[in-house]
């Protein structure tokens, strides 16, 4: 069975807040749900499937379905960190194809900024984690985990800090057009290199923002999509792949995107060269470089050269990416960037991105997520979407 053409993204909404001191997490989930339903032209009564991840309070769907007063016949709380929401879209399509639901709501929300979260502090995932006794004593945090990937990539392939900086520069060129973006100032390669070193070789401007907020998407069966008055965005292919330390046979410079991307491209029946716009998970600049290689946009090891000289800037570069400003400049709600990756891909395919960054005739887009940490274990998820 394939999900190709079996489901459409009919609603998408990004919460405008970047600091939600006056809201609860559950409230943010409900607000983004309202936003996505309104965007689709649907109501709460139409929703019969609900998908959420670990950012949802309590027992995930159990708590949130009750809080929002949903009446659903399908739930899924697959948790793979920031890539969860891409996997939810794929699983929603599977559920729709199997006749288990017609209209699936996927929500994400969080308040890490209000709650003082930082990429230089350890995050605690609870007792009984098998890996934690061998990692927590060493001060593993988000920033130094990704920094080891960058250091190894530089060692193996000669990637430079200047090349990584270009990823941030491109994101900033897009963010200046986004009134909701946290960082709207255009930066240069020199600005990135002059920003404080956080974890060698990653500078402060190699890191994404920490923001409150959230987002939601609605996935629906073709019959539903066809009666709505919105441009139609169809799911063509999806792939998911966890990757870890492989029992100590480590390879930090390849991500799960090598497998999730291949699966998604095969299901969609398209090639990287066909993609007009790409949302690429950008927790750090290095995250983008590794995924672009693994997805096949360039050869392994040549990602640094690929992103340099503005190649990711919409309007001038070969592969416009993260035209909302991405996690690097716009928004990384709940420390999870996957939802916003899907949302901006939908905007591009609908022709509803900001006119300054809208890709002309954007018919085919890719959204790529990476949850967890590239430096230890992560789950990659890839979606390929088409404007019908």
């Amino acid at each position: 069975m394939t999900i190709k053409g079996k489901a459409y993204l009919v609603g998408a909404y990004e919460h405008p807040t970047r600091k939600a001191a006056d809201r609860s997490v559950a409230q943010l989930h409900a607000e983004v749900a309202q936003g996505a339903l309104a965007d689709a032209g649907l109501s709460k009564e139409d929703v019969d499937g609900y998908f959420c991840a670990g950012d949802a309070p309590g027992l995930g769907p159990l708590s949130m379905v009750d809080y929002m007063g949903l009446k659903v016949r399908q739930v899924d709380s697959t948790e793979t960190g920031g890539s969860s929401y891409l996997i939810h879209v794929a699983h929603a399509a599977e559920a729709i194809a199997a006749g288990k639901c017609d209209v699936a709501l996927v929500t994400l929300a969080g308040r890490p900024r209000s709650e003082g979260s930082s990429g230089t502090q350890p995050r605690v995932w609870g007792a009984n984690l098998p890996d934690a006794p061998f990692e927590a004593p060493y001060g593993l945090v988000t920033a130094n985990s990704y920094a080891m990937v960058a250091a190894r990539h530089m060692h193996e392939f000669g990637t430079t800090s200047e090349q990584l900086a270009w990823v941030k520069v491109a994101a900033s060129h897009h963010a200046r057009h986004n009134p909701h973006a946290m960082l709207r100032e255009v930066v240069t390669v020199k600005d990135v290199l002059d920003s404080p070193m956080i974890a060698d070789p990653l500078h402060r401007l190699d890191c994404c923002v920490v923001s409150d907020g959230g987002g939601a998407v609605i996935v629906a069966r073709p019959e539903v999509a066809k009666r709505l008055k919105r441009p139609r965005v169809r799911l063509l292919g999806a792939g998911e792949s966890p990757k870890g330390q492989n029992g100590g046979r480590l390879s930090l410079t390849t991500s799960g995107a090598a497998r999730s991307g291949k699966a998604a491209f095969e299901e969609a029946g398209v090639k990287p060269a066909d993609i007009r716009y790409a949302s690429i998970y950008d927790s750090f600049t290095i995250t983008v470089v590794v995924q672009l290689e693994d997805l096949g946009f360039c050869e392994k090891g040549k990602g640094g050269r690929f992103v340099a000289d503005g190649n990711l800037i919409s309007g001038s570069g070969r592969l416009p990416f993260n035209t909302d400003g991405g996690g690097l400049c716009n928004n990384h709600p709940g420390n999870r960037g996957g939802m916003t990756k899907v949302i901006e891909a939908v905007r591009q395919l609908r022709g509803e991105a900001h006119p300054a960054v809208q890709v002309k005739d954007c018919a085919l887009a890719l959204a790529q997520g990476t949850g967890g940490q590239l430096g230890t274990r992560h789950a990659s998820a890839t979606l390929i979407l088409e404007r019908e």
Partner: protein, 128 residues
């Protein structure tokens, strides 16, 4: 000095930390497929055999990747993956040296450092 959080010792990993307290680095070996793995499991992650056993590692290796975290704590520290001579890589810290001079590929040897209320943990320092 950074306070080193104690490892959460459980029934499966206890021998590793008891060995560390004696100044010995253990690595898990699987008699089913003849290979080492890390972090240690009761059941081999490669072949799923439960015929795994603790072996004393030589305690030497090379830096596979490293990064000095310079923000967020009282002082910089170096996190690293060290590839042991046995062939598996382990997450660790590189200590007792000039952190700015560390490079991937450098030979290192194990040292044991006390944690805040728990057993000591293996770290590494340049061998030469």
């Amino acid at each position: 000095m950074r306070k080193i959080p104690p490892p959460a010792v459980n029934a499966e990993n206890q021998p590793f930390f008891e060995a560390a307290a004696r100044g010995v680095l253990y690595v898990k070996f699987c008699n089913g497929c003849g290979s080492f793995h890390h972090y240690p499991r009761a059941i081999c992650p490669f072949c799923a055999s439960d015929r795994t056993e603790w072996r004393e590692a030589r305690g030497t290796g090379t830096i596979y990747a490293c990064s000095v975290l310079r923000r967020g704590g009282p002082e910089p520290y170096c996190i690293a993956y060290v590839t042991l001579d046995e062939g598996v890589s382990m997450l660790t810290n590189i200590v007792d040296c000039d952190l700015d001079a560390l490079k991937i590929g450098r030979k290192v040897k194990v040292v044991f450092k006390p944690t805040d209320g728990g057993p000591p943990v293996p770290m590494f320092t340049p061998a030469e």
